[in-house]
């Protein structure tokens, strides 16, 4: 299992691996927002948590189709399926590698980008907490979408259409947690819901992803 994780991380940082792609996209989106809505600090700081969340979500989406497509093209996926690792473990590791190369950098970059959006003082912590808690769910749900569309030619668009609706609950509770935290309101409910979504998808979706992968490999 460690071998697969370290291989995926190694491939991500080598040429053509796509590491930093999501991060650069996130940076550009958040820089574009002030240009779009104008330099009103008050308006910006009110929408900043939501903008950061949507930016992170779209950046996450950008790299989803690479999760299985590359391994499928070069035949590694067939060989992994015959390896001693269960497919459930393989999809979990793939999701973990995606989070480490895409989700985690987004979480760490969000406070810095918050400065550009005049994020209110008290909101930094909560944006960080909500993204750290929510982005694993984005990776796990995205891995499920990638497993559904593996083997389809140009399945990237279909993947986005399939995955974006599934991202809605994570986005609602993640952005709500960040917004409430920023406003100094009570945060327990969205915090628990977001944690529930993350751990729930982490516990259940790998089985679904492995099942659809098995069908797609036939």
């Amino acid at each position: 299992m460690i071998a697969l994780l370290s291989r995926d991380l190694k491939l991500a940082v080598r040429a053509g691996g796509g590491f930093g792609l999501g991060l650069a996209f996130f940076l550009i989106v958040t820089v574009l927002i002030p240009f779009g809505v104008g330099p009103e600090t008050e308006l910006l700081s009110r929408i900043a948590p939501g903008v950061l969340w949507i930016g992170a979500l779209l950046a996450c989406l950008l790299s989803l189709d690479r999760i299985f497509a590359l391994d499928w093209e070069d035949g590694s996926l067939d060989l992994l399926a015959t390896a001693p690792l269960p497919l459930e473990a393989i999809v979990t590791i793939k999701a973990a590698a995606h989070w480490l190369t895409t989700g985690l950098p987004l979480v760490l970059a969000a406070p810095a980008l918050g400065v550009l959006l005049s994020l209110p003082q008290g909101a930094y912590l909560w944006v960080l907490v909500s993204l750290a808690l929510g982005t694993p769910a984005l990776s796990v749900i995205g891995t499920f979408g990638a497993a559904l569309t593996v083997g389809l030619k140009r399945g990237g668009l279909l993947l986005s259409l399939l995955v974006l609706p599934l991202y809605v609950p994570t986005l609602i509770f993640g952005a709500e947690l960040a917004r409430r935290g920023a406003a100094g309101l009570e945060v327990e409910a969205p915090l628990l819901m977001l944690a529930g979504i993350s751990f729930g998808t982490l516990a259940l979706l790998p089985f679904a992803s492995a099942a659809v992968l098995r069908i797609n490999l036939r």
Partner: protein
Amino acid sequence: MDLTLADVTVARGGVPVLEGVSFSLAPGRALVLRGPNGSGKTTLLRTVAGLQPELSGTIEGAGERVAYAAHADGLKAMLSVGENLRFWARVFGLSEIGAALAAFDLERLEDRLAGNLSAGQKRRLGLARLMVTGRPLWVLDEPTVSLDAASVALFADAVRAHLGQGGSALMATHIDLGIPEAGIFDVTSLRARPRAAVQDEAFL
């Protein structure tokens, strides 16, 4: 443990391509599948490797004993030859790759990126991967594609050594491998009668 197929029917895209396939392969033996293009050799091999279910019949002695090598070698262009091989060794719980590199004359290429290899060298690396799986039953689909005569000889030596250690090999190939002790199984007469596609369970 023998690999035993009893009255197996395999399907591609829901359409049966071979039916009534029965044979058995003992340790230390090799079996070569023969048949024209499209006769179902690849489908049969994928079924034995467990990548797709058989429509009917039973397959015993496959599963966790299979090391499968397909048309695609499963190599990462941005990893070196050694890294590719070490990765597969670790996935299969082993760590030693020296013997596999030596058997396929890849030692001088160990630090080269797999993306920079020629087609024949990639194939040799893909076949060397079989040796780091530690599995007894090699299931090989057209193993000698793009290999030159010298490399085919290396491959034949590797198969013979594997058989000598009690392993077995099931392969589909069109050329003579120079392994006289290998049995030949012609699938041509087992091609399924044309009939409508079986209902795909995904759409039930």
